[in-house]
């Protein structure tokens, strides 16, 4: 029920109706964007604050600062001392979390619909008065280093990071979001404070309030807490210090060794930017190859020929152009060569023969039906709208299926020919260890590239 006497709203920049929700876009005077998603099914509100900054924006010497800063946002601000954010959330019966990506950083609260305002109050306070105490900084650095160690024990993570490092060469996308042991070890509080000042301000933020709330109330609360904060520097997409993504030619190969019996394959091709027409086509190709049991790669590799125990294809579109990935785990009885050959044959088939209308219709129906899961909770909606809003445009969240429906067999064939050939890709294998040193398993050309990234971690 909407309150009868509310502050008059300015016109929303754009409005959409979707998934039982009304979505409105507004702007505060200081340039901050506020997205309100009104859906009253459950007495729950999700509050997410998105900053358009991620590991892509880091300079070489500050690798990992975006993620480390995300941890420090829970370690004290002007009105919420260390531990107070968690204590307040817990007292209110809510949950909170945060995550850092290549292109964005997001903070999330989920609370009952009569008490969500505290989340906005907390976000506004830590945007403008984060403490960054030196003792807390050192203690949390130890936690982040343990998180990094945890990832070092994961063979898939080691493999994907090695492949990514080769694929992006000099661009920051090549680095793991968490950074390296030595970059984290050298980082100072002053550098982090400067980073916070550069990127954590209203003009670089999108607030999403989603759930059992009215636009009037959401705007009133957003204005009260964020309105008085100064605008901050406008976001500059062009960073002249950031190396560009350079297209490479030729197939680049690398091998890692791991002390288990797994034979893990990771292939990556230069991908595309979020929201482009290639993004839509690659989504469809991804579903054709590994979406469900009847998908081409799953059916052939896992079901029919038993070459792989699992297969997964991912269109990892990012703001500046991402990667198109294929991950496969080779079965014990199969050889890596046989698995790779079968994948290559399926990719060649995609490039040589147009998919039938029937197969395409099946995949589109599957993608359309799966949308319901992306919109089930108010947090799901907040995450989808927020991510598209900071990476491209929020309306893409609800247009993507309509765009995907327009993809034709000819476009799929053309995209496969242009983007998924052997002439520009990285192929990485992680194979059972046969010698005591992982680096000894690499051939000379890969050893030098991997040594660079390993050196930063040691």
């Amino acid at each position: 029920m909407r309150p009868k006497n509310t502050q008059r709203l300015g016109p929303a920049t754009r409005v959409a109706l979707r998934a039982g929700a009304r979505i409105e876009e507004h702007s505060l005077d200081n340039g901050m964007r506020v997205m309100v998603i009104e859906r009253h099914g459950d007495p729950v509100v999700a509050v997410m604050l998105w900053y358009r900054v991620g590991s892509r924006n880091e300079r070489e010497h500050e690798a990992g600062v975006s993620h480390f800063l995300e941890h420090m946002m829970f370690k004290g601000s002007g009105r919420f001392a260390k531990g107070e954010v968690d204590r307040c959330t817990t007292e209110l019966g809510g949950s909170n979390n945060a995550f850092t990506g290549y292109d964005h950083t997001a903070y999330w609260f989920e609370l009952a619909s009569d008490r969500w305002e505290k989340a906005v109050e907390i976000e506004a306070d830590r945007m403008q008065s984060l403490l960054l105490d030196g003792t807390e900084f050192d203690a949390e650095r130890a936690v982040v280093l343990e998180e990094l160690s945890m990832g070092d024990d994961d063979p898939w993570r080691a493999l994907t990071e090695a492949v990514q490092a080769v694929a992006f060469e000099r661009h920051p996308y090549r680095r793991p979001i968490i950074g390296y042991t030595d970059s984290l070890g050298r980082l100072t509080v002053e550098e982090m404070r400067d980073y916070h000042r550069r990127f954590y301000h209203p003009a670089n933020a999108t607030l999403v309030i989603s759930g059992d709330v009215t636009p009037e109330r959401a705007l009133e609360v957003a204005r009260r807490h964020f309105g008085p904060i100064g605008q901050g520097a406008a976001y500059a997409e062009v960073d002249y210090f950031r190396p560009k993504i350079v297209a490479f030619t030729g197939e680049r190969r690398l091998k890692l060794a791991w002390d288990d019996q797994g034979k893990r394959l990771c292939m990556a091709w230069p991908g595309t930017s979020v929201g482009t027409s290639d993004d839509d086509v690659l989504d469809v190709i991804s579903a054709l190859l590994s979406g469900g049991r009847l998908s081409r790669l799953h059916k052939r590799l896992v079901v029919d020929e038993g070459l792989a125990t699992s297969i997964n294809v991912s269109n990892d579109a990012r703001v500046e152009g991402g990667l198109f990935w294929i991950f496969a785990e080779c079965s014990a009885a199969a050889t890596p060569e046989a698995l790779e050959k079968a994948i290559d044959e399926e990719l060649a088939r995609l490039a040589q023969q147009r998919v039938t209308a029937k197969e395409l219709a099946r995949v589109i129906a599957m993608l359309e039906a799966s949308e319901a899961y992306d919109e089930e909770t108010v947090s799901d909606l907040a995450e989808m709208v927020g991510e598209y809003a900071v990476d491209a445009h929020w309306t893409l969240a609800f247009e993507s299926i309509e765009r995907v429906k327009l993809v034709t067999p000819a476009q799929i064939q053309e995209c496969a020919q242009r983007m998924l050939g052997r002439e520009s890709r990285v192929v990485g294998w992680c194979l059972p260890k046969k010698s005591p040193s992982r680096l000894k398993r690499l051939d000379d050309s890969q050893r030098s590239s991997l040594k660079k990234s390993k050196a930063r971690r040691s």
Binding site: G20, G41, D42, P43, V44, F74, G83, D86, R87, T89, T90, E91, L92, G93, G94, S95, N96, E110, A112, S113, D114, R115, A139, E140, R141, A142, V143, V144, E146, E147, S149, M150, D152, D153, D259, D260, Q261, R293, L294, V302, V303, G306, T309, E329, S331, A332, A333, R362, A365, M366, A369, S370, E371, A372, Y373, E375, E376, T377, V378, S379
Partner: protein, 453 residues
């Protein structure tokens, strides 16, 4: 048929919590299965869950993994449909069906609920377990077990359960072993399904934009041929006595996975609600509001992942009290001492009134957040039926949380936690000798740092 409206409306310390409505309609189908339906108009997803009493407990000796494969291969074909026909019908409607040792979880998008219920019924009543699919899927599981054989994260968990539960089936991996899977045949699965996947041992829960009576009518028709079977015969479980037992799984990694704990409680333990509150003070409170996270992660920086709980695994049979940390080898002794010190502290001293209030407010206030997804609601319905929870559980449980006192917490900590009689497992770059030293405390010599990769 019985119908009830469950509402959670217990007031928090601060203010009234928004009401949570979870209507449940209960039926007994003529095949013998119990059906629970929770209608939720407008819900974008419908979830169906099935629970079968018995599970891994019925695995034939030497053929461990039979229950798991019987459930996992349920969707590989029926008398009238191939696995591909099942996938075609399901996937284009945004549906999925996944079986396990004692359960099936299914979901579908939009309003195609009848399709899901019809397919699921067919799978429950007449799965065909085709020979080719059996061979392929068994090989996939074998390949996974072969890889996991060297994984300290997986083997640490297995070893901990083995130390706690001994030779009881709870101490065995659900998927079986490389040796036991090697002995399985298709006929074993067919026989297991015939004996164990029977209607009288089944509970079905459906949650979504559905009408209970229509769901009942459809399932009544589709499950009419499902054999009722015989009642499950259970024997009292026998577990090893409490005591200190320590084992390692050595592996060259950066971190050690440390598990410390012992036999826990059943869900119907009268101290359950009090132990939920204690867990939130000691080791599972969200963020870093619990003592163990605050001390070991926040103050000492020993780990990214650390937790402890006794209530989460409570079931028909006793769960475990389990504390876990993933940490560097040089921190193992400090972590073990930290766990035991925090456990002793809640046994010896009353916790702070503020700590108790924060935990209670969270438990009462977060109730509404737990029921947004259809799958979560369906899971709750199954749990309530299995554990015979009172009809007003969603109202009475928050009230029980609120009534817990400081003295209650100390009493249950003394009664249920045993820091000096724990099973301890360390999996990673650590030897048995180094673990024994670590158990003596942080002043004992630490493992050499050169083990770290």
């Amino acid at each position: 048929m019985s119908s009830r409206q469950l509402e959670s409306s217990a007031p928090s310390a601060q203010e009234e919590v928004p009401r949570l409505h979870v209507p449940i309609v209960r039926f007994r189908l003529s095949c013998g299965a119990v059906l629970l339906v929770s209608p939720r108009p407008g819900a974008p997803v419908t979830a169906v869950q099935v629970h079968l009493r018995g599970s891994e407990a019925l695995d034939p000796r030497g053929k461990e993994g039979t229950a798991f494969l019987t459930g996992a291969l349920l969707d590989q074909g029926t008398r009238s449909k191939t696995d591909e026909e099942i996938a075609e019908l399901l996937e284009t409607a945004g549906g999925s069906i996944a079986g396990g040792a004692s359960s099936v979880s299914a979901n579908i998008a939009g309003r195609d609920t009848n399709l899901l219920l019809e397919l699921l019924s067919e799978l429950l009543v007449e799965p065909s377990y085709p020979q080719r699919q059996f061979e392929r899927q068994r090989q996939r599981v074998l390949d996974r077990l072969l890889v996991e054989r060297d994984d300290p994260r997986v083997q640490g968990e297995h070893l901990f359960r083995k130390l706690v539960y001994g030779t009881h089936w709870l101490g065995r991996p659900s998927a079986g072993t490389i040796a036991s899977l090697g002995r399985l045949t298709r006929a074993d699965l067919v026989a297991f399904h015939r004996e164990a996947w029977v209607a009288s041992r089944a509970v079905l829960a459906v949650c979504g934009d559905v009408e209970p009576e229509r769901v009942r009518a459809l399932l009544e028709r589709r499950l009419a041929r499902w054999k009722s079977g015989v009642d499950l015969v259970t024997t009292p479980p026998v577990f090893p006595p409490l005591g200190t037992r320590a084992k390692t799984f050595p592996a060259e990694r950066a971190q050690v996975h440390v598990h410390l704990g012992h036999l826990g409680i059943r869900r119907n333990d009268p101290d359950y609600a009090t132990l939920v509150v204690l867990d939130h003070v000691l080791g599972t409170g969200p963020g870093f509001t619990n003592r163990i996270s605050k001390k070991l992660r926040d103050e000492l920086g020993l780990a990214y992942t650390v937790n402890a709980a006794i209530h989460a695994s409570a079931g028909i049979l006793p769960g475990t009290f389990s504390a876990y940390i993933g940490t560097s080898p040089r921190h193992v002794a400090t972590a073990l001492e930290g766990f035991r010190a925090e456990i002793r502290r809640v046994q010896e001293e009353l916790v702070g009134a503020d700590e108790l209030r924060v935990a209670q407010d969270y438990l009462v206030g977060s109730f509404v957040l737990s029921f947004q997804r259809a799958s979560r609601r369906a899971g709750y319905l199954i749990s309530a039926e299995r554990h015979n929870l009172p009809e007003d559980n969603l109202v009475s449980l928050p009230r029980q949380f609120e009534n817990v006192t400081l003295e209650d917490l100390r009493r249950v900590a003394r009664a249920h936690l045993h820091p000096d009689a724990c099973c301890v497992v360390a999996a990673g770059p650590i030897s048995q000798q180094e673990l024994e030293k670590a158990l003596k405390g942080p002043r004992a010599k630490s493992p050499p740092s050169s083990r770290k990769r």
